[in-house]
Amino acid sequence: MPRLLFEIGCEELPAAACMEAALQLPELARQHLGAQTLELYIGPRRLAFPVDLPERTADEWIKGPPENLRDQAAAGFARRHGVSADELTAREGFLGVEVPGRPIAEVLPERLAAVVTGLQFGKSMDWGAGFRFARPVRWLCAKLEEETVEVALEHVPSGGYSYGHRQTYPERVDIPSARIYLETLRSVGVEPDRARRYQAICAGLDALGPWRDPLDKLDEVVYLVESARVQDGTFDERFLRLPERVVVLTMQSHQRYFPLGGNRFAFVANGGDPDVVRAGNEFVLRGRLEDAEFTFERDVEVGIEELANRLASITYLQGAGSFADKTSRLVETVRGLGGDEHAAEAARLAKADQASELVREFPELEGHIGATYATLAGQPDEVATAIDEQYLPDSAGAPIPATRAGRVLAAADKLDHLVTAFGLGHAPTGSRDPYALRRAAIGLNRLAIEGGVRVQRDRLGPAREFVEDRLEGLLDLPVEFVRAARASAVSDLAGIAHLARALHQAEPTEEFASVYEAFDRAHRLAGKRSDAAAVVDESAFEHDTERELYDALRGRTLEPSDFDNALRSAAEISPLVSRFFDDVMVMTDDERVRANRLRLLLDVRDTLGRLGDLSLIPR
């Protein structure tokens, strides 16, 4: 099979665009070339792949009008495809035309153009070529074995050549054959294979000692170079006095350096004289660290108490006052959630770092910087740790705070955020969630369930339904059990989770079955009626069974948090309900008696219903 090599030459692509292209190219090749890509070579200036093609494209049968419309439509269809109506063939009730395959080289110009224009990027641009791409496409190289294929894409030159490394070999380079693409590019300073570059960078970093990459920059850096050269550098040891995360963030977030420990760092260069490049990068890092140091020292000079005082002038959410208002609410909520003195003190200072310059510079350090400043101000570890932990859990897999004070503060923060945002009408819509309310709701649930923070459901106010909805995805249970538990008398968030689990566990037992049946029968018969009496009237009883059931219900309050006992207690009602249905005709003609019996059944439903709306559980 003839080998094709196709290269899309670009101006420097963002890493994200490289990743998008890598995901789409195999499918585009399959779709337009009818073959599997053998490899993918993805880098900032070229997206390339080799593929083995059939000699000819496959024969095709193009579907036309239904057979029964032959008289009306066949002639037109045939004409459009350049055949006579007699030549149409029928398949499964439709007319169609046989199109024999063509030599692959004939179709490649259009097919390759379709591969290029078929790539879709999250962010794409116009540069006047008539199609969009992540960055301008500047050349196309297509070789079918030794033959050059001209790609049919206007405004982009196409031929049998590529370009070398931008700095070391900026000239054109001929690609003599599809089979020696890699060798040719390597000879002009380019490593087209992402995996090779990745290995080279890792090996280079390993050679410099233990390295770290907490912000996952390596995945990006591998797409920023065509010829990776790992180098190291140092910075003045005085910067080690800064909080470590500030130093690491300064290195990683913008410069994409890798901390090597102490005052050493590694970086990945693409070209240049190693000594000049090292000196330049050290200089840049020094400037950035000086900025961070300057900012840090100014904050420390101000001190956390004064920073906290400045919160009145910083808006928290439009319409919900300042961070000072938020702080007062937090302190109160922390106390309401059972927080101790440390938790309350942490709440008082929790948002102080929003007024700091360092957090303005590095928003991702919020909490951590506040904790650092609290420690410097002599606050005990418990307070500082709680401040540090207040934003946990900040993602699906993230841990919850390790300390009790941290958990209470974190829960209070999320609770306040949710109630406030919902109160202002900022409920998320579709995929839009600018206030990160989903994350807050999931976090709050986890703090309640895993962290043991007792969050009363009525505290959730307008956010209650949204927060409880999140339990359905969070708990590894069929959603019906969660929904049933939400309809129970449970008063706190974690209680819903415990009850849902208990219901799920009890579901196969006979006890559950009997309670379920009693609830279900009472609910089905009486649940939708509007003619039940307001309260049971003992004088309207006609049967002992009625009284028996009434007595059994009276004073029986099922406590869902004590599930086993509650279920046992509920199960005591079940036989009485069965007997009631056996002995008593509920829908009697006597209005007063009927109303009374319906009321009795509603009392059954409400008594058992403290364990949840069992009717939601499929059986």
Binding site: D126, P136, G287
Partner: protein
């Protein structure tokens, strides 16, 4: 070759783009916060007429002043702005050659084009491009405009904004901008440090807030009036002046976070309305008999 002075670097860059065929302009005559704001870029990006220009622009950003104490941050610094509309296919090669023309040895430094999506909400503009790095230092902002003044563009321009102070530092191998040799025996510090000190004082402490508020309103009103009278170019000057008044108020801390967004919105609305009139006038001119 002897090491080039700052002024020689600027002259070399200007000559490079002049030889390429750019219309070489002078800095705009009122304060702008970026070379982009100069009408030679902002307004000329609009419409179907090709345009190539290059000019030096002192950018005025009151909030960035540091009293002449921080050797890397200033409220007044220099950009060299090039706009090529439409962008030629070899624009990146042209750019790298311009660096060599300035005296930067692009073989010695690690030259990188790092993704940077540019957006300037005040003028309703955005584009895709890069910040260009030399050994990790940002020396240029390179952008393919996609929208300006909220309008789609007939021709996509490439905007090259050179950070001249930093480039001079790299070319001369100086530790700070202060130390850049402006002319022989004269440093950047000699020429501008006192300027930074005085203006930082003015911007942060002395600018008359009430007067600036009044000015903002006046400039805004005048801009509206001129837009209504279809005098797009004089109106644009008023918008620039209003924007500078806003930037000063911002530096004075006289504008809260919420008000800030509102001010930016007011300027953006003016720019949009003005750009619309500018375009209509351009189209009318193009249609008129010679």
């Amino acid at each position: 070759m002897a090491r080039r002075t700052y002024q020689e670097i600027i002259i070399a860059l200007e000559q490079y783009w002049a030889r390429y065929g750019c219309v070489i302009l002078t800095p705009y005559h009122t304060e702008v916060a970026a070379g982009t704001m100069n009408p030679a870029t902002l307004l000329r990006s609009l419409g179907p007429k090709p345009w190539k220009t290059g000019y030096l622009e002192p950018v005025i950003r009151p909030l960035d002043g540091r009293y002449g104490e921080n050797p890397m941050r200033f409220q007044h610094y220099f950009q060299y702005q090039v706009l090529l509309k439409p962008s030629p296919d070899d624009v990146l090669d042209l750019y790298l050659a311009s660096l060599r023309a300035m005296g930067l040895d692009t073989d010695k430094h690690d030259m990188r084009f790092v993704e940077d999506d540019w957006e300037q909400p005040t003028v309703g503009a955005w584009g895709l491009g890069w910040e260009v790095w030399a050994d990790g230092m940002e020396i240029t902002q390179f952008t393919y405009f996609q929208q300006v003044a909220g309008l789609e563009l007939d021709l996509i321009p490439a905007e090259i904004t050179y950070g001249l102070d930093r480039l001079a530092m790299v070319i001369q191998d100086k530790p700070t901008v202060f130390d850049v040799e402006w002319a022989e025996g004269i440093t950047w510090r000699d020429v501008f440090q006192e300027n930074e000190r005085q203006f930082s004082h003015y911007n942060f402490e002395d600018a008359d807030v009430e007067m600036l508020m009044r000015h903002f309103e006046d400039y805004e009103r005048e801009a509206r009036r001129l837009i209504d009278r279809r005098l797009a170019l004089p109106a644009y000057d008023q918008i620039l002046k209003a924007n500078h008044a806003f930037n000063l108020l911002d530096a004075r801390g006289a504008i809260s976070v919420t008000e800030r967004a509102a001010y930016i919105g007011r300027v953006r609305n003016l720019v949009r309305a003005d750009a619309q009139v500018y375009l209509e006038l351009e189209e009318a001119r193009a249609a008129a008999p010679v």
